[in-house]
Symmetry: C2
Subunit: 198 residues, 2 copies
DNA sequence: TAGAAAATCTAGCAGTGCTAGGAATTGGAG
DNA sequence: CTCCAATTCCTAGCACTGCTAGATTTTCTA
């Protein structure tokens, strides 16, 4: 009877192996190189085995994306300060986010550019994605800010993602990278502070 | 001898027809539907004709992207105020940008998601893209802002693109769309205003 | 009008994601 | 230990992709 559980565990291990292999291959040679043939060869099984674990290639990409959201959550959590965001903590968050994207470009692509079938602000949103947004909101919230915290977190996230996205496609000059990150922190701070009457 | 010029003009027309057809097909059914076969069928020529105009499919996508940059430039120009950006002009810019992306999703994808071979802040950057950045910088520059205008324009652009990108992939709730745009304007204003000593 | 030059098409290659059907391995009953 | 069912797995193939070599048609020139 314990055979069943062993079988199940082996299946789970293979499941994880597929995700891990896809990730490694994508980071090494780009997602174009992640074909079902090469992937199956890498896990030392034939193609159809992949389809007993995932409905299709898109689902494998989505699985890699979810792993990425989990990792990003862990890193962002470390930048949260109990009494609300400070300049220092915001700088840490921005640096953390950008560094994760730079260090894992293929995973980041899976998370944002290739995951067509991963809706977010909806009922069917996977948990790691919900958590990611919640943690980000926690990390950017100032002590006594005005306005909707959700909306504020959303535009912070958009700014971060836009920065990463444009930099990754080589559309922003590299030599001003640090200045941009600093300016973004300033922007967050300025926007989160109570607006004074003009 | 005038035959040559007529020939040349006909070729130019076909060149434009290919770009236009690719764009229409992409907007109608998505870029996945834009195969060389379907495209050639649509222009009523065989596949190899496409390759006498473009080096490959990527170059066709890039051509559509450049058209998009040109259109976006025209629209953004209309939001520039001679004496520096105001809240009103910034709101117009944000609305213009977002609306263009929403109205032409496939073109926007060609501009930012699919154009792997279109470097930007570099020597070989095509003119429409340079112009687009210059116009955006003009549109967001306040009367007497501090800091590097390039850096400021870069993070504005990043924020705009990030917003569009996340909204397009269904990762931000729709019902707060307007609030986000307003918050973004506030953020731009706050960041561009002279920083007062804390 | 004959022949060279240019334009265009047919047919095919190597690769993709995905799957039906048969082969091999495994598990439990006698 | 043996047999047979159930599960697991692989081979082979489909329809499609971007792209191209070589034959064919059309156009222009002498």
């Amino acid at each position: 009877m314990t055979k069943h559980v062993r079988k199940g565990r082996e299946r789970d291990e293979r499941h994880a192996l597929i995700i891990q292999s896809a990730r490694e291959l994508a980071e090494a040679e780009g997602w174009d190189a992640v074909t079902t043939r090469r992937l199956s060869q890498r896990i030392e099984y034939s193609q159809p085995v992949l389809y007993t674990h995932f409905r299709g290639k898109d689902e494998i990409v989505a699985a890699v994306a979810l792993v990425g959201f989990g990792e990003l959550v862990d890193r962002m959590k470390a930048t949260i300060t109990p009494k609300g965001a400070t300049r220092k903590s915001l700088a840490a968050l921005v640096a953390t986010y950008v560094e994760y994207a730079e260090a894992n470009p293929a995973v980041y692509d899976a998370m944002f550019a290739l995951s067509t079938g991963l809706p977010f602000a909806q009922d069917e949103t996977p948990k790691p994605m919900r958590t990611a947004f919640a943690v980000l909101r926690e990390a950017v919230m100032p002590q006594n800010g005005e306005g909707d915290p959700d909306v504020y977190a959303e535009i912070c996230w958009a700014s971060l993602h836009g920065l990463v996205s444009l930099e990754r496609s080589g559309r922003l000059p590299e030599h001003t990278h640090r200045q941009r990150m600093a300016a973004l922190v300033d922007q967050f701070l300025a926007a989160s502070a109570p607006t004074r009457p003009k």
